[in-house]
């Protein structure tokens, strides 16, 4: 009982402003994770058939598709964005040894994303606004099926999330470009060249031509380069989603005023191209680059050694910039109006390039770890390996479908959403993020002891097996013809859905175990204290990154 109230040795008063704002976003992220897991389980149980234990209303199309609409909003923005943004707003000051540009802005970011996510959720819950996250034109403006008020609230919610996202972007770049500390004498040009990974590319070129390296000490650490690069895509994505939202909002407002606009003025296929170009930057730009950067960071922090082939990694991040902008057509391989050359070049060939960039990141991370062996199988290492497995499974699953032949029989099936998206997010991304959480936990919480390592272990295995199992079994249903955006209430794919639901339950229970363990570590008092103002207004953290590696070294006999 004492641990529940007071935690282990957590003292929220000892935290500075940067630590507190980081933890606030982390708390919100994991609360939203619980919500998204419950939503996912509701849909999964509906798919198991009429004998499911849920009240009947969940099987009604309005209710079911409302949940399906907010499920990715809560999961991707409410949970994932918050956790990634929290980690990066802590890591950039930590790695550059400079203060975060603005703590106030960081607070505004988590608040805006939280409120925005809540509003979108309310729009679906109260008004059953359900155009799905794809917002295929003109469905979001279809007021015959959806309430105008619901649509307006939903779009305002998404817009707030995007405004919060732009706040994060500003804070990150403003911090990177601050001319203080180690960057006091750096020019903006030097920081830009390093941020885009151009110095890595030049180093490789100079080496090939027998010259001295262009830059022996790059201005920015490699993980910061990944954050810099990934944030370019985050910005473009925010602009696209925001502009699509404004378009929908204009149509809804005109509709509400009694003078509806003509929806055919917007070309549905052109809109699809524009929207997918932006949305795909989340998956193929932001996630893959942020994840590659996180792997590099975790591998170097865990081993305390330099990254293997660092220049190649820097150059690859630059290359990923171009790749991530040209892959969106793989979402349009089943659209017969899409030009064949775009399907072939963007949808197939450039998309296949992601196998290289992600494969390269996997290789560099594994070799960096291998060169530092023996290592202790700590939680950060364990989760990092889990993350590698996740992307090792999920990326090829998507590359297989990004093919004109395979797409004809897999498009819009459960294959892509379960075997690719859910394994990439639940296993690949979240395992990587859990690794980061366990790595940063001591420095963000001032060495707070985790209440139970047994529970941490239980969480790891239940989450890993549940996540892979749920994705794989759902993917098999896709192979059997189960669509991803369709209502199945008669247990059409009952066996696979029951098994998938069991695995999904494991993920949900694993989340509950993780949350319980964290609450027992920081205590209810500590949890509340995180949201109280910090006594120490510092926006930076002083521990050298190198010290983290000491925890992973096997002691010499």
């Amino acid at each position: 009982m004492s641990a529940l109230i007071n935690g282990t040795n957590f003292d929220h008063k000892s935290l500075n402003a940067l630590q507190k704002v980081t933890l606030r976003a982390v708390v919100m992220s994991f609360l939203f994770f619980g919500l998204v897991a419950i939503e996912g389980m509701i849909m999964k149980l509906v798919q198991t058939g009429p004998s499911n234990p849920l009240p009947e209303m969940f099987s009604h199309p309005q209710h079911y598709f409302s949940i399906m609409t907010v499920h990715p909003i809560v999961g991707i923005f409410g949970s994932t964005y918050q956790l990634v943004f929290a980690a990066f707003m802590f890591l950039v000051p930590f790695l550059t040894k400079k203060p975060l540009y603005s703590i106030k802005l960081a607070n505004a970011v988590w608040l805006l994303i939280t409120i925005g996510t809540a509003l979108s959720w309310i729009a679906a819950f109260v008004w059953q606004y359900a155009p799905l996250y794809t917002l295929y034109w003109p469905l979001p403006a279809d007021t015959k099926q959806f309430s105008v008020i619901g649509g307006i609230v939903f779009i305002i919610g998404v817009a707030l999330i995007m405004v919060g996202t732009i706040g994060f972007i500003y804070n990150i770049y403003a911090t990177i470009f601050q001319k203080v500390g180690v960057h006091a004498n750096k020019t903006t040009k030097e920081l830009l060249i390093s941020g885009f990974g151009i110095d890595g590319m030049l180093n490789l070129w100079y080496k090939l031509t027998g010259r001295q390296p262009y830059s022996k000490e790059p201005a920015l650490a490699l993980p910061v380069v990944a954050i810099f690069r990934g944030t370019v895509d985050t910005f473009l994505d925010a602009i696209v989603i925001l502009s699509a939202g404004v378009l929908v909002l204009i149509y809804l407002i005109f509709d509400a005023s009694g003078s509806p606009l003509d929806v055919t003025a917007i070309d549905a296929l052109l809109y699809k191209n524009y929207f997918w170009w932006g949305l795909d930057l989340v998956a193929d730009g932001l996630v893959l680059i942020y994840v590659a950067g996180s792997w590099y960071l975790l591998a170097t922090l865990i081993t305390g050694q330099k990254l293997f082939m660092e220049n190649v990694a820097r150059a690859a991040l630059m290359l990923e910039l171009l790749v991530s902008w040209m892959v969106w057509s793989h979402h349009l391989l089943a659209d017969q109006g899409q030009p064949e050359m775009m399907k072939l070049i963007s949808g197939e060939m450039v998309t296949a390039f992601e196998l290289l960039t992600q494969g390269l990141a996997l290789f560099i991370t594994l070799v960096t770890l291998w060169k530092a062996r023996p290592l202790k199988m700590t939680f950060p290492l364990k989760y990092l390996l889990g993350g590698l497995v996740g992307f090792g499974l999920a990326v090829p699953a998507a590359i297989i479908q990004a093919d004109m032949g395979m797409n004809r029989v897999l498009h819009n099936t459960q294959w892509i959403i379960m075997a690719h998206v859910h394994i990439a997010l639940i296993v690949g991304l979240y395992m990587t993020l859990y690794s980061a959480v366990y790595t940063l936990w001591p420095i963000v919480t001032n060495n707070t002891k985790i209440w139970s390592h047994k529970l941490s272990n239980l969480h790891f295995w239940m989450y890993l097996i549940g996540g892979i199992g749920m994705g794989a079994l759902g993917g098999m249903a896709g192979i059997d013809g189960m669509l991803r955006r369709h209502l199945y209430v008669h247990g059409e794919f009952n066996t696979l859905m029951v098994l998938s639901a069991i695995c999904g339950t494991m993920v949900l229970i694993a989340w509950a175990i993780f949350l319980f363990n964290i609450v027992m570590s920081v205590g209810i008092k500590g949890l509340i204290g995180i949201f109280l103002p910090a006594e120490d207004p510092s926006a930076s953290y002083g521990i050298e990154p190198e010290t983290i590696a000491e925890d992973h070294k096997v002691e010499e006999k």
Partner: protein, 202 residues
């Protein structure tokens, strides 16, 4: 190797991916185990350039393989130069099929053109076997040209196996596609029947 329909392709895909998944999980598990051992030695040394060449071969080779092994790829790319054995054109409006024949009977090996037009929303056109597995599909985008004529969404498909296939929309177009108790209003049972092929229905 050539796949004559989606069943064969998907069975191959499931087997190949399952083997791959087992390998990647095992390799990382083995790797993790050896990371903790003091005297672990590399079983194989994977040269970086060979590894990259393998990834390139995998990425490009996958498409070369499917282009040669899946007949509908080349047929789809060159569909504007192929004269179909029969063409069917119909429309969708307010989640209802318009001008849909009651049933289409196709002789084995015939190449059929389906041209579907939408008046309002994005829909899908998908044919399914009786066991629920997918035969083929496409997206149906709405839109008109400058003269107000509805945009075409056309697809060619050659049927090489007997079977009776159901039709429904494969793209979400709002909850009104369903009744309150979950019945799919765009579902058309036994819409296509393929006859004349030797062997069992697939």
């Amino acid at each position: 190797m050539t796949f004559s329909n989606s069943l064969e392709l998907l069975a191959f895909h499931q087997t190949a991916y399952t083997i791959y998944a087992a390998i990647i999980i095992s390799v990382v598990a083995w790797f993790g185990y050896n990371l903790t051992r003091e005297n672990a030695k590399s079983v194989v040394r994977i040269p970086f350039y060979w590894y990259m060449a393998f990834l390139v071969a995998g990425g490009v080779g996958h498409h070369i393989f499917t282009y040669n092994a899946i007949p509908w790829v080349s047929e789809d790319i060159s569909r504007h130069n192929i004269t179909p054995d029969a063409s069917y054109e119909f429309e969708i409006k307010d989640h209802k099929w318009i001008g849909l024949p009651k049933k289409i009977t196709i002789q084995c090996g015939q190449t059929i053109e389906f041209n579907v037009k939408s008046h309002d929303l994005v829909y899908g056109f998908g044919l399914f076997r009786q066991d629920g597995s997918l035969v083929t599909q496409m997206q149906v985008n709405p839109g008109t040209d400058a003269n107000g004529i509805l945009d075409s969404n056309e697809m060619l498909w050659t049927f090489n196996h007997n079977g009776v296939f159901n039709l429904t929309s494969t793209e979400y177009s709002g909850p009104e596609q369903y009744t309150e108790d979950g019945k799919d209003l765009m579902f058309v049972p036994n819409f296509v029947e393929v006859v004349g092929c030797k062997g069992d229905n697939k």
